[in-house]
């Protein structure tokens, strides 16, 4: 195993194979449980921001609305445009959903705990290359969108996919550079160790600029308003998923919301101290996942809030903002952090 370590990265903690399987099921189940809640929360909150109650017909307070939506999508006819490329058209949503779930697995919900005498980490996998793993799967997720747009055989899908590629590549650079500051400060790439390094102070304070850059870039990475040019419905009908319907569309939709959860989780882990609480509050270990989920909820609400507020950017504005403002700022942030780390260490 050690021979492969430079290739795969050193895994921080080895667990029995059966725990790995259980964890992978739990992660998928957790994602599947949270996404409908986020979906409903988004529609409800968005309604509130616009002075209306949001969905309130299905179940008490409309709580069963996501279930009804999913049921509706699942039972739709399996439609495929004549111009589409068969297996690529089917592959694209699978890539999207798999990469989103894979990225979700590195978010640490807590430290290792003892379950029936076996130490288990409350995360999918603690890789020593945490952010790189994230960006690797983020890059593969592009293929889901690109293939989805390309294989649909429709000009709107294709335009949406092209935009997605340009946008995601532009903002991933800034996102990575923003994370670099934290990685240098913590001196590690493992997400659990980054959390533990925030024992004294959350990185949102010393790395505030990095936090802001990461936050803005995250909006672009998850195709959320005001950077939702990928599916600008006024111009592109629906972007890369125009030709998709039924369960395949649901997969894209699911992946999109899972990606929001992933970036929220990464921001919580990297900037808001993961499962740590401020002012020396040290709750028992079983509270940790709920602390993480609570902090993630803050970000999700913020995402919805921004969606209710800001109009969509123009394409050239998006590009010039990404390359002319965000990227120089992120580079500056990384440089200054590097210099400070060296100066303060010596």
């Amino acid at each position: 195993m050690n021979g492969l370590a430079p290739v795969l990265g050193v895994v921080g903690y080895y667990e029995p194979w059966w725990i790995q399987i259980i964890k992978s099921i739990v992660i998928f189940a957790l994602g599947l449980q949270i996404v409908p809640i986020v979906l409903l929360g988004e529609r409800k909150l968005l309604g509130r921001f616009q002075g209306r109650p949001g969905p309130n017909r299905v179940g008490p307070f409309g709580l069963l609305q996501p279930l009804a939506d999913i049921g509706k999508l699942a039972f739709k006819a399996d439609f495929r445009p004549r111009t589409s490329i068969g297996w690529l058209f089917q592959l694209a949503p699978i890539i999207s959903i798999l990469t989103a779930a894979a990225a979700f697995s590195i978010i640490p919900f807590g430290d290792t705990v003892d379950i029936f005498g076996t130490p288990v980490g409350l995360y999918g996998v603690d890789v020593s290359i945490g952010p790189l793993y994230l960006f690797a799967f983020g890059a593969v997720a592009f293929y889901g969108i690109m293939l989805g747009g390309w294989a649909s055989g429709s000009k709107y899908s294709f335009l949406g996919a092209m935009r997605a590629a340009a946008q995601l590549i532009s903002y991933e650079v800034s996102q990575g550079l923003a994370l670099l500051g934290v990685v240098m400060t913590a001196g590690t790439l493992s997400l659990t160790e980054i959390v533990q390094a925030q024992q004294g102070m959350w990185y949102v304070v010393p790395q505030f600029l990095g936090f802001l850059i990461f936050l803005v870039a995250s909006f672009a990475e998850t195709n959320r308003a005001p950077f939702d040019l990928v599916e600008a419905d006024a111009e592109l009908v629906g972007g890369y998923n125009t030709e998709y319907g039924g369960a395949r569309f649901a997969s894209f939709f699911f992946a999109e919301y899972l990606n929001i959860l992933v970036v929220s989780g990464i921001m919580v882990t990297v900037f808001l101290g993961g499962w740590l609480l401020p002012f020396g509050i040290n709750p028992p270990t079983f509270v940790d996942p709920f602390v993480v989920l609570g902090k993630m909820a803050l970000f999700v609400v913020f995402f919805i809030w921004v969606r209710a507020t800001l109009p969509r950017l123009r394409y050239d504005q998006l590009m010039s903002f990404g390359w002319k403002i965000l990227l120089p700022l992120a580079t500056l942030n990384a440089l200054v952090t590097a210099i400070l780390v060296v100066v303060l260490d010596s």
Binding site: L45, G51, R52, P53, N56, A308, T309, S320
Partner: protein
């Protein structure tokens, strides 16, 4: 007589050109950030104000007292006789031609209305009615008035032809009336 000195000559107009702030640069970034925060504050304040939605079938907006809804035919309260005497003035006034009246003679054994004649058939086709209220104005005996009921949808056109019995019956209290000063 036109005073030529007051003629408008476009060339004399002083045009003030107002430019927006130039986009981009550090000032632009700062401005965008400030305006973003201001927008976030605006939406947040709006969210705390509550909803303005009226969940229609459960909640209803009260109508004004003079709202012109579904017609009603009236009886005299003391004698119980119909006010309508079958004169067909409403049908003549109706621009949509949706009222049909067939008059018949009152007899001492069979007295329906207070006058000489009564309406043996009185039908209003509500799928054609435009709710203008001319029938109400034309009626010399205030026999027909516009009510407040506006929920008249049905599944068949034939169900929208209201007969005399339906128009004479007390309507369901389905439309709340606006109170004074509301």
């Amino acid at each position: 007589m036109i005073d030529s000195s007051k003629d408008w000559r476009p060339a004399d107009d002083e045009i003030i050109v107002v430019h927006g702030p130039t986009p981009g640069g550090a000032g632009g970034a700062y401005r965008i950030f400030g305006e973003t925060l201001r927008g976030l504050k605006t939406t947040f304040v709006n969210a705390t104000k509550g909803t303005t939605t009226i969940s229609y079938p459960e909640e209803k907006v009260p109508v004004y007292p003079r709202f012109r809804g579904r017609h009603r035919l009236h009886r005299f309260e003391d004698t119980g006789l119909e006010k309508c005497v079958g004169c067909s003035l409403c049908a003549a006034a109706c621009p949509a031609d949706c009222i049909r009246v067939v008059a018949a003679e009152n007899t001492p054994e069979h007295r329906v209305s207070a006058g000489e004649r009564y309406a043996s058939v009185y039908e209003i086709n509500l799928s054609r009615c435009i709710f203008c209220g001319y029938c109400e104005v034309a009626c010399p005996f205030d026999a027909i008035t516009m009510g407040n009921d506006y929920e008249m949808s049905d599944y068949h056109r034939s169900d929208l032809i209201f007969t005399k019995e339906m128009l004479l019956a007390e309507p369901f209290e389905r439309s709340p009336i606006r109170a004074e000063g509301e």
